[in-house]
């Protein structure tokens, strides 16, 4: 009986934890405390790469820095020109919004720049770890963006690190709309394909073509509207299904990605 209890009790505790963590958020504070306790592990693991970056920075020549500076100035000038068009469109949008008496307003967004430390080791979740944490104002639920589109959402915060759950994770749902015709659906990661998304709930009669770009839609979501999510790489119409099977390739992939922007305008 005692032996049975010795086995049965930890099993029941583990099952209770799974159920509590999946359905509710009772154990969030416990998780947070354990995360803080084990956060030095990330410091140890990232030490060689940090050292490499530091040595690399120290070894950068003045000539290279001047050349990069020149290049960035040219890029800045080009972006300023694009921003003027954007500002004009924004002004026009605001006027139309006022005319329509709509309550929709664009948020004033603030971003925190973070560097990717590692791809998190979970085999079943798709997530990355960045080098900014609660000490830098990062909070759970904030949205992470890459240069080419939406990357994911913060799910765990430690003092110096944070974990981002990618939009390609099967537990992540993101409302999307087709840029070409505004057809809406819900994006969800695919477990069997790393780096792919499925768009669900688009009826088979609707117009979706290969190469169409899907953007984030703010309806019922924490994700900001209008950011690219992915482009259609495969469409299938199944005989016994009233919805199309649409596969998206994310516009923002994590290969070659070094920096991410974390939107801290969202108040949790």
């Amino acid at each position: 009986m005692q032996g049975f209890l010795k086995l049965f009790t930890p099993i029941m505790i583990a099952i209770f934890m799974i159920f509590s963590d999946y359905k509710f958020s009772y154990l969030d504070s416990l998780k947070q405390s354990i995360a803080i306790l084990i956060s030095p592990v990330y410091l140890v693991v990232n030490l060689p790469s940090q050292l490499y970056i530091w040595i690399s920075d120290q070894g950068t020549t003045k000539q290279l820095l001047l050349s990069q500076n020149k290049q960035f100035k040219a890029e800045l000038a080009r972006l300023k020109v694009s921003l003027q068009d954007h500002s004009a469109l924004l002004l026009e949008n605001q006027k139309l919004t006022q005319l329509l008496k709509s309550r929709y307003q664009l948020d004033k967004e603030e971003f925190i720049l973070a560097r990717i430390s590692s791809i998190a080791q979970s085999r079943l979740k798709k997530q990355i770890v960045v080098n900014k944490g609660s000490n830098d104002g990062i909070k759970i639920g904030q949205v992470a963006l890459g240069a080419d589109g939406i990357l994911g959402q913060i799910i765990q915060v430690m003092p110096f690190y944070a974990t981002i759950l990618l939009i390609t994770d099967p537990t992540q749902h993101i409302p999307v709309k087709n840029q070409r015709n505004g057809i809406r659906g819900v994006g969800k990661g695919v477990t069997s394909h790393r780096g792919k998304l499925m768009v669900r709930f688009i009826e088979s009669g609707l117009d979706v073509a290969l190469g169409d770009v899907f953007l984030s839609s703010a309806i019922g979501s924490k994700f900001p509207a209008g950011y690219p999510v992915g482009h259609v790489s495969h469409i299938e119409k199944q005989a016994n299904d009233s919805f199309l099977t649409i596969e998206l390739t994310p516009t923002q992939t994590i290969e070659q990605l070094e920096f991410v922007l974390i939107n801290n305008a969202i108040d949790n």
Binding site: M17, I18, I119, S122
Partner: protein, 156 residues
């Protein structure tokens, strides 16, 4: 055989497991890498006789859950159930040759993976997974002699 205090050795392997589990690796390597926590904990189970092994499995598994960002209790349950199997065959394991031990590790890894996949299937409501994960069973068995050799050196 117990040349070192088991709790200190367990603390050491816990730290080592956490570090090795957090090492940044390419995605494909991540998918096929063995369950390090299972290999290290199996060694501890086999070579140290101590009460409360399942509670230690629960604690170690929970640490891995937080480190991986998995559902809390997922790795803990997988490690407890794999430990049940290892403890059942403990006598036979200790006297078996290396190939037989690798078969046992393969089986324990299969239990571990099955639990992970079942919990994942419940959370995503679909039993759909990356087939590369099946290679973890093989890599676990292949890495066992290496882990055993390193830990036996650390133990003395």
């Amino acid at each position: 055989m117990d040349t070192q205090r088991p709790y200190i050795f367990l603390a050491k392997i816990t730290l080592f497991t956490l570090i090795i589990s957090a090492l940044p690796l390419p995605e494909i390597v991540l998918d096929i890498a063995p369950f390090w926590v299972l290999l290290f904990f199996t060694y501890w189970l086999i070579y140290f006789k101590l009460q409360g092994q399942f509670f230690f499995a629960l604690i170690l598994g929970t640490l891995i859950d937080v480190l991986y960002g998995d559902i809390l209790g997922q790795n803990a349950l997988a490690l407890i159930l794999s430990s049940v199997f290892i403890i059942k065959i403990k006598q036979s394991f200790a006297v078996s040759n290396l190939s037989t031990q690798q078969i046992y590790i393969f089986s324990a890894s299969a239990i571990y993976l099955l639990v992970l996949l079942l919990v994942h299937a419940l959370s995503t409501q679909s039993f759909n997974f990356n087939y590369y994960l099946l290679a973890t069973l093989l890599s676990g068995a292949l890495f066992w002699p290496v882990v055993q050799s390193i830990l036996s050196k650390c133990k003395h």
